[in-house]
């Protein structure tokens, strides 16, 4: 059934089955769109950094605006100590943004609508941030779970809550992105299906709704990439500047 809104999330093999040991690492449509997104990023930013003219052309302006946008975001949320991680957060933001945006093109595959992809990204960030925190502060990083100015009676409870909230970071980070992308795309597919089923007479309403939803989804695609990156910055800030 073509109008099933979930079929768009199906992963299928492209080309032969590749196996390493017992692991299946075949090239799929997900891999294809990861590569397309990465190539698009590299193409745009390579073109944007090739020529250094005093008055930038459009693509150079795009590249430089993105650069300053991300660098401002990092310095605003995590301070100047986060500078070494700029390249990582920049790649992360661009990768998520481009995957989200490519998903907006009909008949494409949205890489970030898969929990496994976002979860791997989020857990990598989580582990990385935790490791940075322990390297920078040693066991003093554990003070993160003990907020200052809390009455001693409440302390055990607060510490437990803090630990739970810290451990749930990768889950919340990954589920937020995945759920947003999936819900939006499913909804668009549903409205698309309504347009077909209601036909020329009644199809205009869901069609107009679908058009509006496309705008909303583009906004969400940008916003979720931004949220993903800025939460990474905030976590990084916790690890770099221990405030609690």
């Amino acid at each position: 059934m073509a109008s099933n809104p979930m079929t768009q999330f199906n992963v299928h093999r492209i080309g032969p089955e590749i196996k390493i040991g017992t692991f299946d690492i075949s090239f799929t449509n997900a891999s294809l769109f990861m590569i397309i997104s990465s190539l698009a990023i590299l193409l745009i930013f390579n073109l944007g950094s090739k020529k250094n003219s005093l008055i930038p052309n459009k693509i150079q302006l795009l590249a430089e605006l993105s650069y300053t946008f991300v660098s401002k975001m990092i310095s605003d949320t995590a301070g100047s100590k986060a500078k070494p991680y700029f390249a990582f957060i920049f790649s992360l933001f661009m990768f998520v943004l481009f995957c989200n945006m490519f998903g907006m093109i009909p008949y494409t595959f949205t890489v970030t609508s898969h929990i496994i992809v976002t979860f791997i990204l989020a857990s990598f960030i989580f582990i990385g941030v935790t490791v940075i925190g322990f390297i920078k502060h040693g066991f003093g990083y554990l003070k993160l779970f003990v907020p200052s100015g809390v009455p001693a009676v409440l302390l055990p409870l607060i510490v437990v809550i803090e630990i739970i909230s810290y451990l749930s970071r990768p889950i919340s980070l990954s589920v937020r992105l995945f759920a947003n992308m999936m819900a939006g795309h499913t909804m668009m597919k549903v409205f698309g299906g309504f347009v077909i089923s209601l036909g020329i007479v009644g199809g205009w309403l869901p069609l107009s709704f679908s058009v509006a939803l496309t705008g909303l989804e583009i906004l969400v695609a940008f916003l979720q990439a931004y949220v993903f990156a800025i939460l990474t910055c905030i976590y990084l800030n916790d690890a770099l500047n221990l405030h609690h």
């Binding site: 299946d24 690492i25 799929t28 390249a87 990582f88 661009m94 990768f95 499913t186």
Partner: protein, 196 residues
């Protein structure tokens, strides 16, 4: 309103998908672990390569471009500032020169005016003298002529009156008696006739 519709549509979509799960036993494709390893592998590969290329090749170039633009702009601003100061100095100099020249011009003008006035006065004096002389001369001439004129008129009057009398009464009249009358008349009415 829009939010309500949004949530309603999400609800609808879940209904729809639930229906779909019922018909197709696959469920959410995201939860199917068949391709998880593959996705993890390709994600690590593409993102790793993307990160390495961006961080080693592209981002330093963009940062360098931005820095060089910043410094170039700063340099240009400095140069512009310098040139502005220069031009201001030049403007001051120019204004000074103009002021000086204006004063000089005023001086020259005043000098010229004084000189001209002097010349004019000198010439005027000479001319006045000449005119006065000529007026005096002319007055003298007029006086001479006036004096002469009265005598001549008297003479003509005597002759014409003697002739008139001769023609009227046919006898010759003594000229001396007529001239006595004319003299008397001219003395009495002289003011009226000669305007003296």
């Amino acid at each position: 309103m829009i939010k309500k519709i949004y949530f309603q549509s999400i609800f609808f979509s879940f209904l729809f998908s639930l229906e779909a799960f019922a018909t197709e036993s696959g469920g959410m494709p995201q939860l199917n672990p068949e391709f998880w390893i593959s996705q993890i592998f390709w994600l690590t590969l593409t993102f790793g390569i993307l990160y390495i290329i961006l961080s080693k090749l592209i981002l330093p170039k963009i940062s360098k471009n931005l820095e060089s633009r910043k410094s170039q702009i700063l340099e240009n601003i400095e140069a512009a500032e310098k040139q502005r100061e220069n031009s201001e100095e030049k403007l001051k100099e120019y204004e000074e020169i103009v002021l000086k020249n204006k004063l000089e011009a005023k001086n020259i003008f005043n000098q010229a005016r004084e000189k001209a006035l002097k010349d004019i006065n000198a010439k005027k004096e000479v001319l006045d003298k000449q005119i006065d002389d000529e007026i005096i001369k002319a007055e003298q001439e007029i006086k001479v002529l006036q004096n002469g004129a009265a005598e001549k008129i008297n003479k003509i009057a005597i002759e014409t009156s003697s002739e008139l009398i001769q023609k009227l009464i046919g006898t010759e009249v003594n000229n001396s008696s007529i001239s006595a009358i004319v003299d008397d008349l001219s003395k009495r009415n002289g003011d009226k006739y000669y305007g003296n």
